[in-house]
Point group: C2
Chain length 264, copies 2
Amino acid sequence: MNSPIRPPADAALAHGEASALIVRLLPFIGERRLEPGDRLPSERLLAERFGVTRAIVREAIAKLEAMRVVERRPRSGVYLRAESQVGSLDAIVMKADLGLPFDLRESDHLSEFRSILETQAIELACVRRTQEDIDRLDACMSACRERFGRGESIAQPSADFHLAVVAATHNQFLLRAANSCYLATRELREAVFTDPTVCRRSIRDHQKIRDAIVKGSVTLARRAMKDHLHVANHYWRTQFATGEAAAGAASPAKHRRRRGPMTR
Amino acid sequence: MNSPIRPPADAALAHGEASALIVRLLPFIGERRLEPGDRLPSERLLAERFGVTRAIVREAIAKLEAMRVVERRPRSGVYLRAESQVGSLDAIVMKADLGLPFDLRESDHLSEFRSILETQAIELACVRRTQEDIDRLDACMSACRERFGRGESIAQPSADFHLAVVAATHNQFLLRAANSCYLATRELREAVFTDPTVCRRSIRDHQKIRDAIVKGSVTLARRAMKDHLHVANHYWRTQFATGEAAAGAASPAKHRRRRGPMTR
DNA sequence: CGTACCAATCTGGTAATACCAGAAAGCGAC
DNA sequence: GTCGCTTTCTGGTATTACCAGATTGGTACG
């Protein structure tokens, strides 16, 4: 199983009324000026207000609770948590998943976070990589080249490569955090990685990174990764700005409802 | 109602049948040898099997879905996702929250992850800290000293200090990731931070860190943080080992049910 | 008056049941 | 065999009801 470790399917939160309710719930919280510690309306009221069942409300709240956006107190109510302090990483990732936009500041912070993870990860990867890790890197490289040759976007195999690097640290926490980053930026990456210039540059950089890891040279690898991330973040920022400009009214991140047979 | 500082209330996932079901569900997945991509039994079967309602099953699955442990495919089934690749950071944090044990390997990886976040964070903090950030650091220091003076555990204010450092980066992603780390280790930290030696050492180290941040000296701060983390991780590892040995009995703080080891 | 106590009424937590629509499997007709 | 129907799965949603803490309001008592 050398293929890049990737889920067969799309992201998770897009289905059903419960997710739709979350999307409507967040602005509702905003316009009500609810602050951390405040209580949300009762489940029954919310159900009535949004025209759904209590079961739907409870499912939505369960998800928000899992992401530490909200806290349930039995027989008392549902309370908003202090977002910045207790929200989970995925509570932000979810924003993208639900079609809510990032602002530029958040985008930069995400880039910074990703850079931190990956520059540290590659050093560990140089030391810990196994043959299997290297095979996975090569598989991603092949996938990139193949897709590029067909003129397709290399967004996914490129992300897979980066994740494969992190995976070579064999540290689950690093891997999961990095994965969240790539989930959060999936849509915009699609756009960035259609530009042939970007693709060529990426593939070249990835090759350097891969070679450095194989060689086990920490300094080489870190240098290569830093260079790559620097350029990548630049492209990313540019793309984000243009996307931001075009993101006027309707959120373009909405065509996610794929229902295909899902070959697995 | 505005109590000074809200004792973070108990963590999130601990209430009710849905959470209990998650705890029973994970071992169930394990003993059934379900692998990524496999389908879970239908909701109705699970409900019958575990003696709860479908509503409970759905709530539990909603949480697992939010943490990207499983994936729902409408009118098809609930499928296990590739854990290492797609699970969220909080899917691991949850383990602690549900009373499931870490193994030593995971514990070390968590320490490593935390160290990466915080050593990078402190550099940014040196540059970006505002007066408000410094005030927060000082408040945490005071809380530490006060509690230590009363002979209480400084686990919470100590964690608050570390989080305040990360908060000074003004990077939400860093903060949330770091926060997840401290949530995951809450219980064990309580034990570690009752030892006066540890407390004294921590407070001293924190003071150094705080001063370096105020001074804005990146090199000093990084040095101080690295030293502190090194020692802290040592204490932590020791405590973990002893805790592991005594883990035959139930978790000391909670009277939560736990089943088999199931660490996969 | 003030206070202690009690009952109506909130809350979330859980249960039981039913129906819908897509998907898949069985199965008969050809 | 293959086509096409029907049955039987699946999750998705709605409805209703009851339980038990918590809150609240009022009332009876001191």
